[in-house]
């Protein structure tokens, strides 16, 4: 028997890496539209462009450029997400985003196991992902779906002003903003936990090898280990 177990499918690893790139691009290009506090990003991008165009409008040029980046990276992210979802349909159970046990008691137990692991530094009775990871995966999934749907509709309204009445587009923009805030908070927590030293095995598996040490899995992810046997 091999000393390692397959933790992530190459498609999952590639999707995760590309999603990370697009999300960074989307956040940077979207922030100046989110709040004027971030106009410096638009000015930074816009100065060389406005010099090149000779239009003397660094802010507008920067925002116009960032909007193109935002739209195109959002479009590409939507495309790879759809491809990924279809490709993973047959392996959907392996994504480990479903509860191992259902019910309110299971939620309380999940919280207890996380406390054991993160605060008391003991081994929790986890599956491949713990309760927090599963919950954040679902929040990320739903907020991204909302962001993509509202984003596509807003782009269409931007191309054709009569496509949606302004109160609907305002509503969509609010959905886009609130989903972004929620997603951003969850992403920050996700990144924080991903970078914890205790998470190094999973980190390496996701970004480098795709595999995790069998003994480590046995000790730290017993529910998953039982399924692998």
């Amino acid at each position: 028997m091999s000393n390692t177990v397959k933790a992530y499918h190459p498609l999952e690893m590639s999707f995760h890496k590309n999603m990370l790139r697009f999300v960074i691009l989307l956040i940077i290009s979207g922030l100046p539209f989110f709040s004027k506090m971030f106009s410096f990003i638009a000015y930074g991008v816009g100065y060389p462009i406005s010099e090149f165009l000779g239009n003397g409008q660094p802010l507008s040029s920067g925002l116009a450029f960032l909007r193109v980046i935002h739209w195109s990276s959002g479009f590409l992210l939507a495309v790879i997400s759809v491809v990924f979802l279809f490709a993973m349909l047959s392996k959907i159970n392996r994504l480990s985003i479903w509860p191992d046990v259902w019910g309110v008691d299971a939620i309380f137990d999940g919280i207890k196991q996380m406390r054991l692991h993160y605060l008391e530094k003991k081994s929790g009775n986890f599956g491949k992902m713990n309760l927090g990871q599963k919950a954040s995966a679902w929040v990320m999934f739903f907020t991204m779906v909302l962001l993509i749907i509202s984003g596509v509709l807003l782009v269409l309204r931007n191309i054709d002003g009569s496509f949606l009445p302004s109160d609907i587009s305002l509503f969509l923009r609010n959905i886009h903003t609130v989903s972004f805030i929620v997603l951003f908070c969850v992403l920050m927590v996700h990144v924080f936990f991903a970078l914890l030293p205790s998470n190094i095995h999973a980190y390496k598996a996701m970004f480098q090898t795709g595999e995790m040490d069998r003994e480590y899995v046995k000790e730290h992810h017993p529910l998953w280990y039982n399924k692998l046997k």
Partner: protein, 187 residues
């Protein structure tokens, strides 16, 4: 936001407006607006007065608000407020994102033009700068539209409400002659 030294606004007399839309047309002609674009528009409302139904009209354009939402949301800072309170849009800065249109509670901004950029009433600032009246005011045959200083209008007892007019926190710079008849608004 820097407060303007004064605040110009429109004064509208709903008692006398006959709904002829001359103001709307004068605005379209002077600003050479494309088809279907009307920075100023006249809406019709039904009221009941002395047990009889009748129509009243409301002529509206940008209200050059004292706290303009368009100006605070525009990411390109395309809006500025002049010292006389007129809210000016620099269309060279506009990238057509539509934020201003969505934020204006008076539907005063449109992006339906061929260039897909925002456009709205500028109170004919360039005409005023050479001592002329805005086109809509000059075009009204019954003088139901006038130009006022908002402080002066308030001191003179002009009111902030009229049939069909939506109040908002943006402090719109429009005032109305007090109603001289009692009537019930029907819709």
């Amino acid at each position: 936001m820097k407060m303007p030294k004064s605040q110009k606004g429109f004064l509208f007399d709903q008692n006398f407006c006959i709904g002829c839309k001359a103001c709307e047309v004068a605005c379209q002609v002077y600003h050479q607006q494309e088809d279907m674009i009307d920075w100023r528009h006249v809406d019709t409302f039904l009221i009941r007065e002395n047990n009889m139904e009748k129509e009243v009209y409301l002529s509206q354009a940008c209200h050059h608000c004292q706290e303009p939402a368009c100006m605070s949301v525009c990411p390109t800072n395309a809006y500025t407020k002049r010292d006389d309170g007129i809210v000016i849009l620099d269309r060279d800065k506009c990238i057509g994102c539509g934020y201003c249109m969505e934020s204006c509670q008076y539907g005063a901004i449109t992006l339906q033009g061929n260039d897909k950029k925002a456009q709205k009433c500028n109170m004919c600032a360039e005409k005023q700068d050479i001592g002329e009246l805005p086109a809509c005011i000059a075009g009204c045959p019954v003088k139901a539209l006038r130009l006022v200083d908002i402080v002066v209008a308030d001191e003179a007892g002009m009111v902030k409400s009229a049939v069909g007019f939506k109040q908002s926190s943006l402090k719109p710079s429009i005032r109305f002659y007090p109603k001289f008849r009692s009537a019930t608004f029907l819709g």
